[in-house]
């Protein structure tokens, strides 16, 4: 029997790990979460495991257990650094792993973000991506003072009053990604000519105004930053439900989905593939990665004990939007291959606690997958697009 296509594997990094009590684990470093050294150590460990990329969570307010509003809790990690700058800090001291910071598109400037990610691509030699997120939170809007959103409870979000706002935010996000991408293309790869004879540094015919005009913003261009090494750094988004999946289908290279089981995988993947066709992208490779929170060890009992200990410290069983896996690396490998069969191209694992669950991924799960012929034994490409099997696109403005 032919071996399955290789899996793609990423980890999602957030503070001390995804479990709210992760910072209290014996090996956690809760006092160092704001230091460069912590992030270098964690991402270097992911790179030792040959993972495709890391994502770095971010938001424009203090972390909160209550969606959309502050919670004033004292018992969980609060305070964080800008994810793009964490990625930049790590870029020169890593060499192969992709770096995908989260950017909130609702309150930021596509022009700034486009050049920031392009610059991350330069600093990392072609390993940059960006995970885009919207913010409907009223308190985050108040930090900027330029827009006023209604207060939305979780229950409201499902109702039509909120649905209009959320749909608008995702439409804005699609415009945002369009602008970011056009700016990356606004310099053709060969725009810089350094022609001493004529004294021209660039060929202005190879620099392009993007002239984007939309409902939320207009951007003239070109970028101030030349086309990044990958041409188009990788764009990722969480594809939670129909509105969000449409953004992935229209605009992203990688979507993160949260299925509960293999059957759920099939349904979610079918919906995104259908949206992808509707968006005219049927021929393009769009990755669909399954998100899983993992509490992982060499055996099921050890993993279960750690999860139970963390839940006890937190005072409640951990719940997540993603499925939670607690067990041994071999069992997780079975599950991943099963869900891959159902249509996923990769996984983004959210380590319950750092470093334990991260090391279990890199030192137990990865060898297990390698043993089954399902994961790389060495980095095969210096760029993130290369690792994901995405070709380097020509600039849309390049004249054939």
């Amino acid at each position: 029997m032919a071996s399955p296509p290789p899996l793609h594997l990423a980890v999602a990094l957030d503070g001390a790990g995804w479990h709210p009590a992760a910072w209290r684990e014996p090996r956690a470093r809760p006092g160092e979460l704001l230091s460069g050294r912590y992030w270098v150590d964690v991402i270097s460990e992911a790179e030792r495991g040959l993972l495709d990329f890391v994502t770095i969570e971010d938001g424009l307010s203090l972390q909160s257990a209550r969606p959309g509003e502050p919670d004033l809790r004292r018992d969980q990690v609060r305070g964080r650094l800008d994810a793009t700058l964490i990625a930049a800090r790590v870029a020169p001291v890593t060499s192969a792993i992709g770096l995908v910071p989260t950017v909130i598109v609702t309150h930021t400037e596509p022009f700034h973000v486009s050049k920031a990610i392009a610059s991350l691509d330069y600093a990392s030699g072609g390993r940059a991506g960006v995970r885009v997120r919207v913010s409907a939170a009223r308190h985050e809007a108040a930090h900027f003072g330029r827009r006023d959103f209604p207060a939305l409870s979780l229950a409201d979000r499902a109702r039509s009053r909120a649905a209009g706002l959320v749909a608008d935010l995702f439409d804005e996000a699609a415009d945002y990604v369009e602008v970011v991408r056009r700016l990356w293309d606004s310099w053709q790869d060969d725009a810089e000519i350094r022609d001493v004879g004529t004294g021209r540094f660039v060929d202005v015919g190879r620099l392009h105004y993007i002239d984007f005009s939309g409902r939320w913003f207009s951007v003239k261009g070109p970028s101030i930053t030349p086309r990044p090494p990958q041409g188009q750094p990788v764009v990722a988004a969480l594809a939670h439900g129909s509105v969000a999946s449409r953004l992935t289908a229209r605009s992203a290279d990688v979507g993160f989905v949260t299925p509960r089981d293999a059957q759920d995988v099939a349904g979610i993947v079918a919906e995104i593939r259908s949206e992808q066709r509707a968006a005219g992208r049927a021929g393009e490779l769009v990755h669909i990665f399954g998100d899983l929170v993992v509490f992982l060890a060499s055996d099921r009992v050890t993993a279960g004990r750690r999860k139970a200990r963390l839940d006890a410290l937190a005072g409640a069983a951990y719940v997540s939007d993603a499925a939670i896996f607690t067990g041994a690396a071999g069992e997780l490998a079975d599950l991943l291959l099963d869900w891959q069969q159902a249509g996923l191209t990769g996984f983004r694992l959210r380590p319950g606690a750092i470093p334990d669950d991260l090391e279990a991924i890199t030192r137990l799960l990865v060898p297990e997958l390698q043993h089954r012929g399902a994961f790389r034994r060495g980095y095969e490409s210096p760029t993130l697009r290369g690792l994901l099997g995405l070709p380097r696109p020509a600039s849309r403005y390049a004249v054939a």
Binding site: L62, D75, R78, R80, A88, P92, H112, K115, A142, W216
Partner: protein, 458 residues
């Protein structure tokens, strides 16, 4: 008894997107690859410089309605490169220009606070203002800011970020695994700022960084700009590097500090300076002329002339005489995205001076532009340049210099190897970093939790 000599402050400016930067030289490398930034930062740190500086411009320059192609074009994102440089340096301050018009305080504050954390206290911010609709075309709000409100907005922006930086005292994170207390004060980061420009409130999400606030630079030269610097900046990036002009500027700005309850040691004056270094003074003079020829091609000379004349002069011969027509008065339209055109406050009078000089000295357009624009600040042997820098600092024409090499990225190497040791021998420049933060390098007292400089004896 004479006072001990002042210590010289030195910084490295990454070569910019104007004609100072000679891209046509065979030694010229990339203006965008990270290795170029790492090279210059490495040289600056080896030489124990205070900081590296990155400029910014948010729209490609245009002249005569097209993108200006004679100078280096293309720059990275300031924050991203500075954060990456934090990985390859240990002591060097990391300073960058960030615009206060096309950004919002919450985001800029979290970026600078993050950079300060990630670099262990080495962040600095050159606060600039712009108002032009030309740059605004790249941003959500467009050209929203009237010119006469730009300093008002910059001041408000800075005060808003200060409130954000100071919203964490620095002792709120307990991270006590035993008791389970992570955040001692769940209201840490609370802020509210409201004025004509901003109405923001909430909780800032980046805890207090090592320096508390980034070091603040200001570069404006107008009366309003100087007053803004005197009220709020830790250092001025000035353009007055000669003895007479430097002393006048130095005295003027330091004289303004008292009105803001500040003392002269709380604001450093750091002019930008270029240099041409060779083994002997005469070799350096010859080399300086060659560099000027590289910097001012015939096409560049015409472009400079157009910036003053404010009209298309592409039909003129750069090796021929100065145009006998006068500049077009009124709003500047020929060159866009370029702050320097505003320096010509009376273009007609300046044009007359240039014409008179060209006629008296029999200069072509190119020769004139070489003569009247951008001569290098320091030209000479290592000993001459070291002496000149030290004299200017001791004479209170400056507190130090921000050096702008004309070659990317190796243009500072010789200065580091040959001039810096001579300053160190004179005892006016550090031989090792004594502190860990940029404030330490600049001799600025650490900030109190309220954002005030801490005084030794009080």
């Amino acid at each position: 008894m004479s006072r001990p000599p002042k210590q010289v402050h030195l910084a490295a400016h990454f070569p910019g997107v104007n004609n100072t930067t000679v891209w046509s030289d065979p030694k010229a490398g990339s203006q965008i690859e990270f290795s170029s930034f790492a090279h210059l930062a490495g040289t600056a740190e080896r030489a124990k410089f205070d900081f590296l500086f990155l400029a910014e411009g948010l729209r490609l320059r245009e002249q005569n309605g097209r993108i200006y192609d004679l100078d280096v074009v293309g720059r990275p994102d300031t924050f991203t490169v500075l954060a990456a440089l934090a990985a390859v340096t240990e002591h060097l301050g990391l300073a960058g220009t960030i615009n206060s018009t096309f950004n919002e305080p919450y985001e800029v504050a979290r970026q600078f606070a993050s950079l300060d954390h990630l670099s262990g206290g080495r962040a600095a911010w050159n606060v600039v203002t712009s108002w032009d609709a030309f740059t605004g075309e790249n941003f959500r709000r467009g050209g929203f800011l009237p010119q006469d409100q730009r300093y008002q907005r910059a001041r408000a922006f800075l005060h808003a970020t200060w409130q954000l930086f100071d919203s964490w005292r620095g002792d709120e994170i307990a991270a006590d695994k035993e008791s389970g207390l992570f955040l001692a004060d769940p209201r840490a980061g609370t802020f509210q700022y409201r004025d004509a420009h901003f109405d923001i409130a909430g909780q800032f999400d980046v805890p207090r960084s090592p320096q508390g606030r980034p070091v603040i630079f200001q570069a404006g030269d107008s009366d309003e700009g100087r007053e803004f610097a005197a009220s709020a900046a830790d250092a001025i990036f000035s353009r007055h590097g000669t003895l007479t002009a430097g002393q006048a500027f130095y005295a003027d700005v330091k004289g303004r500090l008292g009105r803001h309850g500040r003392t002269p040691d709380q604001l450093l004056i750091l002019p930008a300076a270029t240099f041409v270094l060779a083994d002997t003074d005469s070799d350096a003079a010859e080399l300086a002329h060659q560099v000027r020829l590289q910097q001012v091609s015939g096409a560049t000379a015409i472009a400079f002339l157009e910036q003053l004349w404010n009209r298309d002069l592409s039909g003129y011969d750069p090796d021929g005489p100065i145009p006998d027509v006068d500049p077009v008065a009124g709003e500047h339209t020929i060159a866009r995205g370029r702050a320097s055109v505003r320096m010509y406050r009376d273009p007609v009078a300046t044009a007359r001076e240039w014409r008179a000089k060209a006629e008296a000295e029999n200069l072509s357009i190119r020769e004139l532009i070489i003569a009247v624009t951008g001569r290098q600040s320091f030209i000479g042997s290592p000993a001459s340049i070291a002496q000149e820098i030290n004299e200017l600092v001791q004479a209170d024409a400056a507190d130090g210099f921000i050096l702008v090499p004309h070659i990317t990225p190796g243009g500072l190497d010789d200065f580091a190897d040959k001039v810096v040791p001579l300053l160190q021998e004179r005892g006016v420049f550090r031989t090792e970093y004594e502190g860990s933060t940029l404030r330490d390098h600049l001799g600025l007292a650490p900030l109190t939790r309220a954002g005030l400089p801490r005084r030794a004896a009080s």
